[in-house]
Symmetry: C2
Subunit: 206 residues, 2 copies
Protein backbone atom coordinates (compact mmCIF):
# COMPACT_ATOMS: atom_id res chain seq x y z
CA UNK A 1 0.00 0.00 0.00
CA UNK A 2 2.23 2.77 -1.26
CA UNK A 3 1.12 6.02 0.23
CA UNK A 4 2.78 7.95 -2.50
CA UNK A 5 0.49 7.05 -5.37
CA UNK A 6 -2.98 8.04 -6.26
CA UNK A 7 -6.13 6.23 -5.45
CA UNK A 8 -8.57 5.70 -8.26
CA UNK A 9 -11.19 7.79 -6.58
CA UNK A 10 -11.76 11.39 -7.50
CA UNK A 11 -11.54 12.21 -3.86
CA UNK A 12 -8.18 11.08 -2.65
CA UNK A 13 -9.23 10.18 0.83
CA UNK A 14 -6.28 11.36 2.86
CA UNK A 15 -4.54 13.86 0.65
CA UNK A 16 -3.44 16.11 3.45
CA UNK A 17 -1.34 13.46 5.13
CA UNK A 18 -0.09 12.12 1.82
CA UNK A 19 1.13 15.54 0.82
CA UNK A 20 3.02 15.95 4.06
CA UNK A 21 4.67 12.54 3.69
CA UNK A 22 5.70 13.16 0.13
CA UNK A 23 6.90 16.61 1.09
CA UNK A 24 9.30 15.02 3.55
CA UNK A 25 10.36 12.42 1.03
CA UNK A 26 11.08 15.08 -1.52
CA UNK A 27 13.09 17.27 0.82
CA UNK A 28 15.08 14.24 1.81
CA UNK A 29 16.05 13.73 -1.80
CA UNK A 30 16.41 17.22 -3.16
CA UNK A 31 16.93 19.39 -0.13
CA UNK A 32 14.54 21.87 1.37
CA UNK A 33 14.93 24.33 -1.46
CA UNK A 34 14.42 21.71 -4.12
CA UNK A 35 11.01 21.07 -2.71
CA UNK A 36 8.23 21.92 -5.06
CA UNK A 37 4.50 22.03 -4.49
CA UNK A 38 3.72 20.97 -8.02
CA UNK A 39 5.93 17.92 -7.87
CA UNK A 40 4.58 16.89 -4.51
CA UNK A 41 1.14 17.09 -6.05
CA UNK A 42 2.34 15.12 -9.06
CA UNK A 43 3.85 12.38 -6.91
CA UNK A 44 0.72 12.28 -4.83
CA UNK A 45 -1.26 11.76 -7.96
CA UNK A 46 -3.27 14.95 -7.92
CA UNK A 47 -3.40 18.15 -9.91
CA UNK A 48 -1.17 21.16 -9.12
CA UNK A 49 -4.06 23.02 -7.56
CA UNK A 50 -5.29 20.25 -5.30
CA UNK A 51 -2.99 21.02 -2.35
CA UNK A 52 -4.56 24.45 -2.04
CA UNK A 53 -7.66 22.86 -0.61
CA UNK A 54 -5.61 21.58 2.33
CA UNK A 55 -2.95 24.24 2.79
CA UNK A 56 -3.20 27.94 2.23
CA UNK A 57 0.07 27.90 0.33
CA UNK A 58 3.44 26.24 0.08
CA UNK A 59 4.65 27.79 3.31
CA UNK A 60 1.75 26.44 5.30
CA UNK A 61 2.52 22.94 4.19
CA UNK A 62 5.99 23.39 5.59
CA UNK A 63 4.52 24.86 8.76
CA UNK A 64 2.38 21.78 9.22
CA UNK A 65 5.44 19.60 8.81
CA UNK A 66 7.31 21.76 11.31
CA UNK A 67 4.56 21.36 13.87
CA UNK A 68 4.71 17.61 13.39
CA UNK A 69 8.45 17.72 13.88
CA UNK A 70 8.20 19.63 17.13
CA UNK A 71 5.65 17.15 18.39
CA UNK A 72 8.00 14.32 17.56
CA UNK A 73 10.81 16.10 19.36
CA UNK A 74 8.57 16.73 22.32
CA UNK A 75 7.61 13.08 22.44
CA UNK A 76 11.23 11.98 22.22
CA UNK A 77 12.26 14.30 25.03
CA UNK A 78 9.40 13.08 27.17
CA UNK A 79 10.04 9.41 26.59
CA UNK A 80 13.77 9.58 27.18
CA UNK A 81 13.61 11.50 30.43
CA UNK A 82 10.98 9.25 31.92
CA UNK A 83 13.61 6.65 32.67
CA UNK A 84 15.96 8.77 34.75
CA UNK A 85 15.19 10.21 38.13
CA UNK A 86 18.38 12.14 38.65
CA UNK A 87 17.86 15.59 37.12
CA UNK A 88 21.55 15.81 36.27
CA UNK A 89 21.28 12.70 34.14
CA UNK A 90 18.05 14.06 32.73
CA UNK A 91 19.86 17.10 31.40
CA UNK A 92 22.37 15.04 29.50
CA UNK A 93 19.73 12.72 28.15
CA UNK A 94 17.77 15.71 26.92
CA UNK A 95 20.79 17.07 25.12
CA UNK A 96 21.59 13.75 23.58
CA UNK A 97 18.02 13.31 22.50
CA UNK A 98 17.91 16.78 20.96
CA UNK A 99 20.98 16.26 18.84
CA UNK A 100 20.04 12.75 17.86
CA UNK A 101 16.67 13.97 16.75
CA UNK A 102 18.38 16.41 14.44
CA UNK A 103 20.71 13.72 13.14
CA UNK A 104 18.03 11.11 12.61
CA UNK A 105 15.43 13.53 11.29
CA UNK A 106 17.53 15.99 9.41
CA UNK A 107 14.61 16.88 7.20
CA UNK A 108 12.35 17.80 10.07
CA UNK A 109 15.10 19.82 11.67
CA UNK A 110 15.59 21.71 8.45
CA UNK A 111 11.94 22.52 8.13
CA UNK A 112 11.63 23.44 11.79
CA UNK A 113 14.56 25.83 11.95
CA UNK A 114 15.53 26.65 8.40
CA UNK A 115 12.12 27.61 7.11
CA UNK A 116 12.86 29.98 4.38
CA UNK A 117 10.96 33.22 4.54
CA UNK A 118 11.07 32.52 8.28
CA UNK A 119 7.46 33.34 8.85
CA UNK A 120 7.03 29.96 10.47
CA UNK A 121 7.77 31.56 13.79
CA UNK A 122 4.91 33.90 13.32
CA UNK A 123 2.65 30.91 12.96
CA UNK A 124 1.20 30.35 16.41
CA UNK A 125 0.82 26.62 15.88
CA UNK A 126 4.53 26.34 15.23
CA UNK A 127 5.38 28.58 18.15
CA UNK A 128 3.29 26.60 20.60
CA UNK A 129 4.64 23.26 19.48
CA UNK A 130 8.15 24.63 19.79
CA UNK A 131 7.55 25.97 23.28
CA UNK A 132 6.14 22.64 24.33
CA UNK A 133 9.20 20.81 23.04
CA UNK A 134 11.49 23.19 24.86
CA UNK A 135 9.64 22.94 28.16
CA UNK A 136 11.43 19.73 29.07
CA UNK A 137 14.75 21.51 29.22
CA UNK A 138 13.29 24.35 31.26
CA UNK A 139 11.71 22.01 33.77
CA UNK A 140 14.85 20.00 34.18
CA UNK A 141 16.94 23.07 34.79
CA UNK A 142 14.36 24.25 37.27
CA UNK A 143 14.86 20.99 39.11
CA UNK A 144 18.61 21.26 38.98
CA UNK A 145 18.98 24.89 39.95
CA UNK A 146 15.88 26.08 41.76
CA UNK A 147 17.76 29.06 43.08
CA UNK A 148 18.45 30.31 39.57
CA UNK A 149 14.94 31.66 39.21
CA UNK A 150 15.43 34.03 42.10
CA UNK A 151 15.67 37.70 41.31
CA UNK A 152 15.02 38.71 37.74
CA UNK A 153 15.40 35.13 36.60
CA UNK A 154 18.24 36.01 34.31
CA UNK A 155 20.37 33.22 35.67
CA UNK A 156 17.67 30.78 34.86
CA UNK A 157 17.26 32.08 31.34
CA UNK A 158 20.98 32.06 30.86
CA UNK A 159 21.21 28.46 31.96
CA UNK A 160 18.40 27.38 29.66
CA UNK A 161 19.81 29.30 26.76
CA UNK A 162 23.29 27.97 27.37
CA UNK A 163 22.13 24.39 27.18
CA UNK A 164 19.86 25.04 24.26
CA UNK A 165 22.55 26.90 22.35
CA UNK A 166 25.02 24.14 22.92
CA UNK A 167 22.95 21.29 21.59
CA UNK A 168 21.29 23.41 18.93
CA UNK A 169 24.69 24.55 17.76
CA UNK A 170 26.02 21.05 17.51
CA UNK A 171 22.90 19.91 15.74
CA UNK A 172 23.06 22.84 13.35
CA UNK A 173 26.70 22.37 12.52
CA UNK A 174 25.96 18.76 11.75
CA UNK A 175 22.77 19.25 9.82
CA UNK A 176 24.01 22.23 7.85
CA UNK A 177 27.10 20.45 6.70
CA UNK A 178 30.17 22.19 8.12
CA UNK A 179 30.81 19.51 10.68
CA UNK A 180 30.42 16.64 8.27
CA UNK A 181 32.26 18.50 5.56
CA UNK A 182 35.13 19.48 7.81
CA UNK A 183 35.68 15.78 8.45
CA UNK A 184 36.30 16.44 12.12
CA UNK A 185 38.46 13.38 12.35
CA UNK A 186 36.68 10.10 12.27
CA UNK A 187 34.63 11.07 15.27
CA UNK A 188 31.15 9.79 14.88
CA UNK A 189 28.36 12.07 15.90
CA UNK A 190 27.39 9.91 18.85
CA UNK A 191 30.86 10.02 20.32
CA UNK A 192 30.93 13.73 19.64
CA UNK A 193 27.78 14.21 21.64
CA UNK A 194 29.14 12.30 24.57
CA UNK A 195 32.39 14.19 24.49
CA UNK A 196 30.62 17.51 24.48
CA UNK A 197 27.99 16.70 27.03
CA UNK A 198 30.69 15.17 29.20
CA UNK A 199 31.93 18.62 29.98
CA UNK A 200 30.42 20.54 32.83
CA UNK A 201 28.44 23.13 31.02
CA UNK A 202 26.74 25.20 33.59
CA UNK A 203 29.21 24.58 36.32
CA UNK A 204 28.40 27.79 38.03
CA UNK A 205 26.53 30.91 37.00
CA UNK A 206 28.58 34.07 36.86
Amino acid sequence: MAETGRTDKYHHGDLRQTLMNNCLKMIEEKGVSGFTLREVARISGVSPAAPYHHFKNKTELLAAVAVMGFKMLDEAQRKETEKCDNPGAKLKVLGRSYVMFAVNHKVYFHVMFRANPEPLWENTQVMNAAKQALSHLENTIRELYPEAEKGNGNHFKAAVLTCWSMVHGLASLWVDGPLRAAESGKLEIEKLIDLILGQDIIHRGS
Copy 2:
Protein backbone atom coordinates in the same frame (compact mmCIF):
# COMPACT_ATOMS: atom_id res chain seq x y z
CA MET B 1 27.10 57.46 -6.56
CA ALA B 2 24.50 54.77 -6.11
CA GLU B 3 26.04 51.44 -6.79
CA THR B 4 22.72 49.91 -7.46
CA GLY B 5 21.94 51.59 -10.77
CA ARG B 6 23.22 51.10 -14.23
CA THR B 7 25.98 52.96 -15.89
CA ASP B 8 25.29 54.25 -19.33
CA LYS B 9 27.97 52.12 -20.83
CA TYR B 10 27.25 48.82 -22.50
CA HIS B 11 29.90 47.29 -20.34
CA HIS B 12 28.91 47.87 -16.77
CA GLY B 13 32.39 48.20 -15.39
CA ASP B 14 32.07 46.37 -12.12
CA LEU B 15 29.05 44.20 -12.49
CA ARG B 16 30.36 41.34 -10.41
CA GLN B 17 30.67 43.43 -7.27
CA THR B 18 27.44 45.27 -7.96
CA LEU B 19 25.58 42.00 -8.22
CA MET B 20 26.94 40.82 -4.92
CA ASN B 21 26.01 44.06 -3.18
CA ASN B 22 22.50 44.05 -4.55
CA CYS B 23 22.18 40.39 -3.70
CA LEU B 24 22.84 41.26 -0.07
CA LYS B 25 20.48 44.18 -0.20
CA MET B 26 17.75 42.01 -1.62
CA ILE B 27 18.17 39.24 0.92
CA GLU B 28 18.05 41.83 3.64
CA GLU B 29 14.68 42.94 2.42
CA LYS B 30 13.02 39.76 1.25
CA GLY B 31 14.87 37.00 3.01
CA VAL B 32 17.25 34.50 1.54
CA SER B 33 14.52 32.61 -0.28
CA GLY B 34 13.00 35.73 -1.74
CA PHE B 35 16.25 36.40 -3.47
CA THR B 36 15.98 36.28 -7.23
CA LEU B 37 18.67 36.39 -9.87
CA ARG B 38 16.47 38.19 -12.33
CA GLU B 39 15.56 40.96 -9.91
CA VAL B 40 19.14 41.41 -8.85
CA ALA B 41 19.99 41.83 -12.51
CA ARG B 42 17.09 44.23 -12.93
CA ILE B 43 18.15 46.35 -9.98
CA SER B 44 21.71 46.31 -11.22
CA GLY B 45 20.48 47.61 -14.53
CA VAL B 46 21.40 44.66 -16.68
CA SER B 47 19.57 41.94 -18.54
CA PRO B 48 18.55 38.67 -16.87
CA ALA B 49 21.32 36.78 -18.60
CA ALA B 50 24.13 39.16 -17.74
CA PRO B 51 25.00 37.63 -14.36
CA TYR B 52 25.83 34.36 -16.05
CA HIS B 53 29.01 35.91 -17.37
CA HIS B 54 30.22 36.40 -13.81
CA PHE B 55 28.70 33.49 -11.93
CA LYS B 56 28.02 30.00 -13.14
CA ASN B 57 24.55 30.13 -11.67
CA LYS B 58 22.48 31.48 -8.81
CA THR B 59 24.15 29.23 -6.29
CA GLU B 60 27.62 30.43 -7.18
CA LEU B 61 26.63 34.01 -6.56
CA LEU B 62 25.62 32.97 -3.08
CA ALA B 63 28.86 31.06 -2.70
CA ALA B 64 30.81 34.18 -3.55
CA VAL B 65 28.86 36.10 -0.95
CA ALA B 66 29.51 33.35 1.58
CA VAL B 67 33.24 33.51 0.95
CA MET B 68 33.14 37.24 1.50
CA GLY B 69 31.25 36.69 4.74
CA PHE B 70 33.80 34.24 6.05
CA LYS B 71 36.57 36.65 5.22
CA MET B 72 34.78 39.36 7.14
CA LEU B 73 34.33 37.03 10.09
CA ASP B 74 37.98 36.06 9.89
CA GLU B 75 38.99 39.69 9.89
CA ALA B 76 36.76 40.47 12.84
CA GLN B 77 38.13 37.58 14.86
CA ARG B 78 41.66 38.63 14.06
CA LYS B 79 41.17 42.26 14.92
CA GLU B 80 39.36 41.64 18.19
CA THR B 81 41.85 39.17 19.57
CA GLU B 82 44.82 41.32 18.77
CA LYS B 83 44.08 43.47 21.79
CA CYS B 84 44.11 40.80 24.45
CA ASP B 85 47.12 38.84 25.55
CA ASN B 86 45.44 36.55 28.04
CA PRO B 87 44.19 33.50 26.07
CA GLY B 88 41.28 33.09 28.44
CA ALA B 89 40.06 36.56 27.59
CA LYS B 90 40.73 35.81 23.96
CA LEU B 91 38.32 32.92 24.03
CA LYS B 92 35.49 35.06 25.32
CA VAL B 93 36.24 37.82 22.88
CA LEU B 94 36.16 35.33 20.05
CA GLY B 95 32.80 34.04 21.14
CA ARG B 96 31.40 37.50 21.50
CA SER B 97 32.74 38.47 18.13
CA TYR B 98 31.25 35.38 16.49
CA VAL B 99 27.78 35.99 17.80
CA MET B 100 27.90 39.71 17.15
CA PHE B 101 28.93 39.04 13.60
CA ALA B 102 25.82 36.91 13.16
CA VAL B 103 23.67 39.58 14.75
CA ASN B 104 25.11 42.48 12.83
CA HIS B 105 25.40 40.63 9.54
CA LYS B 106 22.40 38.40 9.65
CA VAL B 107 22.33 38.21 5.89
CA TYR B 108 25.88 36.98 5.60
CA PHE B 109 25.28 34.44 8.32
CA HIS B 110 22.27 33.17 6.48
CA VAL B 111 24.13 32.77 3.25
CA MET B 112 27.13 31.20 4.95
CA PHE B 113 25.26 28.56 6.91
CA ARG B 114 21.78 28.34 5.47
CA ALA B 115 22.75 27.98 1.84
CA ASN B 116 19.92 26.17 0.36
CA PRO B 117 20.83 23.10 -1.61
CA GLU B 118 23.80 23.05 0.78
CA PRO B 119 26.35 22.48 -1.92
CA LEU B 120 28.24 25.52 -0.70
CA TRP B 121 30.26 23.26 1.53
CA GLU B 122 31.40 21.32 -1.48
CA ASN B 123 32.72 24.53 -2.90
CA THR B 124 36.40 24.57 -1.98
CA GLN B 125 36.56 28.35 -1.85
CA VAL B 126 33.86 28.40 0.77
CA MET B 127 35.45 25.56 2.69
CA ASN B 128 38.84 27.24 2.83
CA ALA B 129 37.46 30.58 3.89
CA ALA B 130 35.46 28.85 6.59
CA LYS B 131 38.46 26.94 7.88
CA GLN B 132 40.45 30.14 8.01
CA ALA B 133 37.77 31.88 10.03
CA LEU B 134 37.60 28.99 12.46
CA SER B 135 41.35 28.78 12.95
CA HIS B 136 41.30 31.57 15.52
CA LEU B 137 39.26 29.50 17.89
CA GLU B 138 41.47 26.48 17.37
CA ASN B 139 44.64 28.44 18.01
CA THR B 140 43.26 30.03 21.13
CA ILE B 141 42.20 26.72 22.57
CA ARG B 142 45.60 25.36 21.74
CA GLU B 143 47.07 28.15 23.84
CA LEU B 144 44.69 27.54 26.66
CA TYR B 145 44.87 23.77 26.83
CA PRO B 146 48.07 22.58 25.22
CA GLU B 147 47.71 19.24 26.91
CA ALA B 148 44.39 18.61 25.16
CA GLU B 149 46.08 17.68 21.94
CA LYS B 150 47.88 14.78 23.54
CA GLY B 151 46.76 11.30 22.61
CA ASN B 152 44.21 11.05 19.83
CA GLY B 153 43.42 14.72 20.12
CA ASN B 154 39.81 14.04 20.89
CA HIS B 155 39.87 16.30 23.89
CA PHE B 156 41.09 19.10 21.73
CA LYS B 157 38.43 18.53 19.11
CA ALA B 158 35.81 18.28 21.78
CA ALA B 159 36.88 21.57 23.28
CA VAL B 160 36.84 23.32 19.92
CA LEU B 161 33.52 21.87 19.00
CA THR B 162 32.03 22.72 22.35
CA CYS B 163 32.91 26.37 22.00
CA TRP B 164 31.91 26.49 18.39
CA SER B 165 28.59 24.78 19.07
CA MET B 166 27.82 27.14 21.88
CA VAL B 167 28.29 30.36 19.99
CA HIS B 168 26.98 28.96 16.75
CA GLY B 169 23.90 27.74 18.54
CA LEU B 170 23.23 31.09 20.13
CA ALA B 171 23.81 32.83 16.82
CA SER B 172 21.53 30.39 15.02
CA LEU B 173 18.73 30.69 17.51
CA TRP B 174 18.91 34.43 17.16
CA VAL B 175 19.24 34.61 13.42
CA ASP B 176 16.64 31.95 12.71
CA GLY B 177 14.06 33.64 14.85
CA PRO B 178 13.15 31.38 17.76
CA LEU B 179 15.07 33.43 20.25
CA ARG B 180 13.66 36.73 19.09
CA ALA B 181 10.22 35.25 18.62
CA ALA B 182 10.19 33.60 22.02
CA GLU B 183 10.69 37.07 23.49
CA SER B 184 13.17 35.70 26.00
CA GLY B 185 12.37 38.43 28.40
CA LYS B 186 13.68 41.84 27.57
CA LEU B 187 17.19 40.50 27.50
CA GLU B 188 19.10 42.15 24.75
CA ILE B 189 21.38 39.98 22.74
CA GLU B 190 24.52 41.62 24.07
CA LYS B 191 23.58 40.89 27.64
CA LEU B 192 22.64 37.40 26.59
CA ILE B 193 26.08 36.83 25.19
CA ASP B 194 27.76 38.03 28.34
CA LEU B 195 25.55 35.89 30.49
CA ILE B 196 26.30 32.81 28.47
CA LEU B 197 29.98 33.38 28.03
CA GLY B 198 30.22 34.19 31.69
CA GLN B 199 29.72 30.56 32.47
CA ASP B 200 32.72 28.30 32.58
CA ILE B 201 32.25 26.28 29.49
CA ILE B 202 35.14 23.93 29.22
CA HIS B 203 35.90 23.78 32.89
CA ARG B 204 37.38 20.36 32.66
CA GLY B 205 37.40 17.67 30.00
CA SER B 206 35.68 14.39 30.75
